[in-house]
Symmetry: C2
Subunit: 208 residues, 2 copies
Amino acid sequence: MCEMIYLPKATLERLKMYKKVLESVRKEYISSEEIAQILAINPELVRKDLSYLKTHGKPKMGYLVSELKKELNDLFGVNDFTSMVVVGANFLGKALATYKPFERAGVKVVAILDTDERNVGERVGDLVVREIGALERVVRRFKVEICGLCVSPDVAQETAQKLIELGVKVIWNFTGVRLSVPEDVLVVDEDFSTRVLDMKRYLLSRKK
Amino acid sequence: MCEMIYLPKATLERLKMYKKVLESVRKEYISSEEIAQILAINPELVRKDLSYLKTHGKPKMGYLVSELKKELNDLFGVNDFTSMVVVGANFLGKALATYKPFERAGVKVVAILDTDERNVGERVGDLVVREIGALERVVRRFKVEICGLCVSPDVAQETAQKLIELGVKVIWNFTGVRLSVPEDVLVVDEDFSTRVLDMKRYLLSRKK
DNA sequence: TAGATTGTTAATCGATTAACAATC
DNA sequence: TAGATTGTTAATCGATTAACAATC
């Protein structure tokens, strides 16, 4: 199908930003200068990044927005949908399960599960919380590749293990626990208490 | 009080990781090798990073965990508490409002507010959802410096504006909207649909 | 043609790794 | 003393910026 182009890490990071910028652009063409301005980076950097793609800009015009969008969508495989399951029906889990913008990113939350009997049956958006026993069935049936892991820290590792055995390839880890996983599994850590440290230091720096 | 040491961005990023690692260490000393192994980076890099701090390691011993922890806590100002308000009592807002590990990071959520009358009065952890009109009072009373912004995209910019007028210094932005703010305000963007793009590309790369 | 903008190469900057002396 | 580990300097690597020719 499509051979994977090599992309420097920093470039890949910015391509995601460009993709987002383009989503709210209503013009036919956009220049590197404009993109750069919105993101507060150098236009040269934008051009360098975009030069990794097949899309070419037109001198005096800039880049054809529709073409660029399409190529970025292909690059991230946004057009065919990936199934995601949420494990842990706490507020965070429910937030993921009802997060609208996933739609446009090619991610579909197919189920939300919980170990606690009392939560089972509760309505969450279009879904109903299911018992954890349904995990295998759900993963098989929907070919689930991503899990939003929102369980409590004490069961994080064992839950991850179970998911991996069932063939889940990406664990989006909100538990704050450092997970051990085989090297062909991607763990994406989302750690709010680490994130606030940047804010704390920023506030400190303001006070000199 | 304490002069702010200059720290390379990449180093600062890792110092947060070291801080987290140290939280679950039960030994008196830890070597750069051990830290490096846990984080899958080079021990030389760990030593270089730690050399920016006042703490010195002991040859043959490593670094005194308690001392290192203390210095990192000071560096991030974790010991005096910062007040945070959550605006938007949807699942995400409630998740932030009840997020336990903030405690250890020196952040205290003092209130959760919503514009929707129907949500006002609802219990969320130790808090009760308050009407948006209480914002000014809350910010003044608790000297709020951080806001977790969980409102819908259409009111994101105006809400941010109001917060900034009241003196809030950091906006933790979950709305997906690119906010315009004065340069002395820090916006920390948390965009789940951008985040999943990494996972999408990873999955694509697995399929060759 | 002149002007604007792309795309690429060279120069610079910053971050990581390698090497190794210092030290307990 | 020998061995382990730190801390620092030098070498390498990767990413950004500067410069500028190509092109519409």
